[in-house]
């Protein structure tokens, strides 16, 4: 019985992980860009919601606005900074984005203080859902539902539209895409903003669950990497499956062998890479 509860709980966690990781996966797999600043966008999303609700803005408005602002900031960063380094080796991607992540984190501390805070879920979702022995926060149920809808929309965008193909092409040769008359530079910006916006949304959604504090970005980055690597870089479906997998494993392990939960996840990730060269579903 308890495993059933843990399963549901794991799915809830997993959907959030998916949302967090899928942006990284897109940026990673399609732009070939290693983005260690992904956690920073998650952090910003959470803090923006926190800030707005503290100022009395409606939570729903905050939830809508925060990812948009994050996406805008990401687009700006991409245009000013990142597009200059796409062509460089991964090392420089890591250097720049680690630097950016540090800067964002410290800016958050400067703006909102080092202690962090609490975001209350909207009143309609403040309670718990009960079914016999099964008790689950309504807000978490809402998150599962919302991410599901988003997942479908995203899938269509990436696999069903020409944009998806263009971006994949651009990841191989920007020159060649330009030669076909496509302004790859703008496409890249859009994709980067989309990925970052998703992270911002994940942060905004997570804020009422786990509060906000300046170091939540680093932690989120770790999880996102695990999910992306297990799922396979650039694979949308992979991110979904891996997100759920990690969520469920983490949740079930909490009952089975709590001490080893983390160890298991990294061990699992290592095993997946070793046995499946490109993660579960990665393309290249």
């Amino acid at each position: 019985m308890i495993y059933l509860f843990q399963l549901v709980n794991g799915i809830g966690l997993g959907m959030l992980y998916f949302l967090l990781a899928v942006g990284l996966s897109i940026i990673f797999g399609l732009l070939h860009f290693v983005n260690f600043a992904h956690g920073a966008f998650y952090l910003l999303g959470a803090y923006l919601v926190y800030d707005m609700t503290e100022r009395g803005v409606n939570f729903w408005a905050g939830l809508l606005l925060a990812p948009v602002v994050v996406a805008g900031l990401a687009a700006l960063t991409e245009a000013v900074l990142l597009r200059r380094i796409y062509h460089l080796p991964h090392t420089f991607h890591i250097l720049v984005t680690v630097g950016l992540a540090l800067m964002v984190q410290e800016l958050v501390i400067i703006l909102w203080g080092p202690v962090g805070g609490n975001v209350s879920p909207p009143d309609v979702l403040g309670g718990v859902f009960m079914l016999g022995d099964f008790i689950y926060p309504q807000y978490r149920l809402f998150v599962i539902g919302l991410t599901l809808v988003l997942a479908i929309g995203l899938w269509w965008l990436l696999e069903g539209t020409r944009l998806g193909a263009v971006v994949r092409a651009g990841s191989e040769s920007t020159d060649m895409v330009s030669l076909l008359g496509i302004d790859i530079v703008r496409v890249n910006t859009a994709v980067f903003a989309l990925g970052a916006g998703l992270a911002g949304l994940a942060g905004a959604l997570a804020a009422p669950i786990r509060g906000v504090e300046p170091f939540m970005g680093v932690e989120a980055l770790g999880i996102a990497f695990v999910v992306v690597v297990i799922g396979g870089m650039g694979s949308y479906t992979g991110a979904l499956i891996a997100g759920l997998l990690v969520g469920i494993v983490q949740s079930v392990m909490a009952t089975l062998w709590p001490e080893g939960a983390r160890l298991m996840i990294y061990l699992g990730m290592g095993l997946v890479i070793l046995t499946m060269p490109r993660g579960l579903l990665g393309r290249a």
């Binding site: 193909a165 994949r168 092409a169 040769s173 020159d175 330009s178 030669l179 496509i182 302004d183 290249a284």
Partner: protein
């Protein structure tokens, strides 16, 4: 005589500090096939790159259809209708054959996906394959097909028959002829003199980044001395 569609005038280009193009001047007029010949390393590819915007000329002008496009970003030049099939073909390995074609599709192209499949049936057979899994010749076909879908007003082909089987060479030469017949001029870089002879109206020969010879097809055909001097073709 029709006005030149593409004019390049005294173009200079550098890779880092090496001065590769040292004042190239040439033109392509409507409806003609012009070849650019020269030894390895003469600067043929670099010339095409400077026309398409991949290599920004440090001096000189590139004019296309009456517009000065010097220093434009490649996608804007391409949108004007200048299509380049590069020597390394630029196939997207992560995309399937069909996706490679689809992203090149542009309104106003006289060729449709159906047309190119008719021209290159091999591509249709392998349309679900990843671009990276094609044989060399298949890749070349795909690259040309893609350029056709991109609504070209002028086609630049960099060694299009390199590595192709003779039957395919025939086929491609045929297709190039057909393309010319539609009125689309072609700037062709080719090492294969036979192909050039089949197709070209005029020839330029490049050496050390400069045009050292220019002549019509007939003049060139008769000029064994030039062939020998610049291309090392001995009359057997």
């Amino acid at each position: 005589m029709t006005a030149a569609l593409l004019e390049i005038e005294n173009v200079h280009g550098y890779y880092g500090k090496s001065h590769i193009l040292q004042g190239v001047t040439l033109e392509v007029r409507a409806g003609e096939v012009v070849t650019l010949l020269g030894r390895n390393g003469a600067g043929k590819t670099s010339t095409l790159k400077s026309i398409s915007g991949l290599l920004s000329p440090s001096a000189g002008r590139v004019r296309f259809a009456g517009t000065d496009v010097t220093g434009w970003r490649p996608h804007r030049i391409a949108q004007r209708g200048l299509a380049l099939v590069p020597e390394h073909r630029g196939i997207f390995g992560l995309l399937s054959v069909e996706e490679n074609l689809r992203i090149a599709e542009r309104k106003g192209s006289p060729w449709s996906l159906k047309d190119v499949y008719r021209i290159f049936p091999r591509l249709e057979e392998r349309r679900r394959n990843g671009g990276g899994q094609l044989s060399g010749g298949e890749q070349q076909m795909l690259a040309i097909a893609r350029a056709l879908l991109n609504a070209p007003k002028l086609l630049m082909l960099d060694e299009p028959v390199e590595g192709l089987a003779p039957v395919i060479v025939d086929e491609i030469v045929d297709q190039i002829r057909k393309i010319r017949a539609t009125g689309i001029p072609i700037l062709l870089v080719e090492q294969n003199l036979a192909v050039c002879t089949e197709l070209a109206d005029r020839h330029y020969i490049l050496e050390l980044g400069r045009v050292v010879y220019h002549g019509t097809h007939d003049e060139f055909a008769a000029d064994e001395a030039t062939k020998d001097r610049y291309l090392g073709v001995k009359a057997h």
